[in-house]
């Protein structure tokens, strides 16, 4: 059942709308890069020893340890993190994705691992191209199941090898991936309401005449 709705078809038409509105998407026309310094911990050092160039530290303004991993070695790194006795990251605290339309790799999958016995945590990020599939982490942590389904809903990232990759938060027939930056807040139909500088939906519009009309007549036209 899930085989049919595997998103290659969806994915094929996805990049097209992505390309157009990206230019006028909300803030941030320049690529995103975190400020701050790279934090070295035992875990990151150990990872660097083991995987060398495949992992690189991410700078953090708040002093959180994190590494960026090449997509092909992601599962290897995560498995190592869980099974290595010195890392022992047995608890996947969070798994999500972020969309940076201006970055070289616009999608980033972010893993927040935590070790209950050792008490240390690590952020693992992997960059993805648009439409690129990511290997699943369900085999490593069962909790990744729903997180990955949610990311699939919201960003359209396909997780290869996921046992049950269907929609979770969105209706089954939902079109588009709402958490991508080109997706307007009010949905595709209400793009018109997104016009002020803060890009927030204006319940009372900027135009005083329009606002006055709304207040006096008690309606927004469509209601």
């Amino acid at each position: 059942m899930t085989e049919e709705q595997k998103p290659p078809a969806e994915q094929a038409d996805k990049p097209k709308p992505a390309a157009k509105p990206a230019a006028k998407a909300p803030p941030g026309p320049k690529p995103w890069a975190p400020t701050g310094e790279v934090v070295e911990t035992d875990v990151t050092r150990r990872l660097k020893e083991r995987f060398e160039a495949a992992v690189e530290g991410i700078p953090s303004p708040v002093g959180e340890a994190g590494v960026r991993v090449a997509k092909d070695r992601l599962i290897e790194v995560l498995t190592f993190l869980k099974e290595d006795p010195e890392c022992a990251m047995n608890f996947l605290s969070d798994l999500t994705a972020v969309h940076f339309p201006e970055n070289e790799q616009p999608l980033e999958v972010v893993y927040h691992c935590y070790s209950i016995p050792k008490g240390h945590s690590l952020r693992v990020r992997a960059g993805l191209d648009d439409g690129e599939a990511c290997p699943t982490a369900v085999e490593i942590w069962k909790t990744a199941d729903w997180h990955e389904r949610e990311i699939h809903d919201m960003f359209g990232i396909v997780f290869e090898g996921h046992p049950n990759l269907k929609t979770i938060l969105l209706p089954d027939d939902w079109e588009g991936h709402p958490f991508r930056k080109e997706y307007p807040l009010g949905g595709p139909k209400e793009e018109a309401i997104r016009k002020d500088a803060l890009s927030r939906p204006v319940y009372l519009p900027d135009d005083p005449e329009e606002a006055r009309r709304i207040i006096k007549e008690g309606g927004r036209g469509s209601e």
């Binding site: 927030r200 939906p201 204006v202 319940y203 009372l204 005083p208 606002a211 006055r212 709304i214 207040i215 006096k216 008690g218 309606g219």
Partner: protein, 157 residues
């Protein structure tokens, strides 16, 4: 033997029955609402009240409102020099969250929540206000004046 005795005499069930019986005879906590109206504490956040006379059209409340319920329109420059009161003030309470962000950001205390809490209406139009119809009640304006209001009347402390 003791276990058997416990099994047939239901001590824990009798204990439970005792608890319910205890509250059966104690005074009840129901608030008999329309007969006795609750006294709300001073910090309570209900219907927004705006005192247009002291407003200086700074627009802080507009920026602070997460739902965009407030719209302040500054008067033209030449008028603003003498009279800082806004030219128009639109308030749409139908999606107000009662979060208090506007009241926190207001430098003059002109916009504040009141304890007018029976807000039901037949139409959402009754929640839309402009400068003339803004809800305002001088007696209710005590948020700034009576910051440290006590709670003893409410929580029985």
């Amino acid at each position: 033997m003791q276990r058997f005795l416990r099994m047939i005499t239901f001590p824990e069930l009798r204990e439970g029955l005792g608890v319910t019986l205890k509250w059966f005879v104690r005074p009840k906590v129901t608030e008999v609402y329309p007969d006795r109206r609750p006294v709300l504490p001073y910090r309570t956040k209900h219907r927004l009240h705006v005192e247009i006379e002291t407003c200086i059209s700074c627009g802080q409340c507009e920026k602070a409102c997460p739902e965009g319920c407030i719209k302040v329109i500054k008067p033209p420059k030449e008028v603003f020099k003498e009279d800082k009161r806004p030219q128009e003030f639109f308030l749409s309470l139908d999606h107000c969250l009662y979060c208090g962000q506007c009241q926190d950001s207001c430098p003059t205390g002109s916009i504040h929540h009141s304890d007018e809490w029976e807000l039901a209406a037949y139409s959402f139009k009754e929640y839309l206000f402009d400068k003339e119809t803004l809800p305002y009640d001088l007696e209710k304006k005590r948020y700034r004046e009576n910051f440290w209001g006590n709670v003893e009347d409410k929580t029985g402390g």
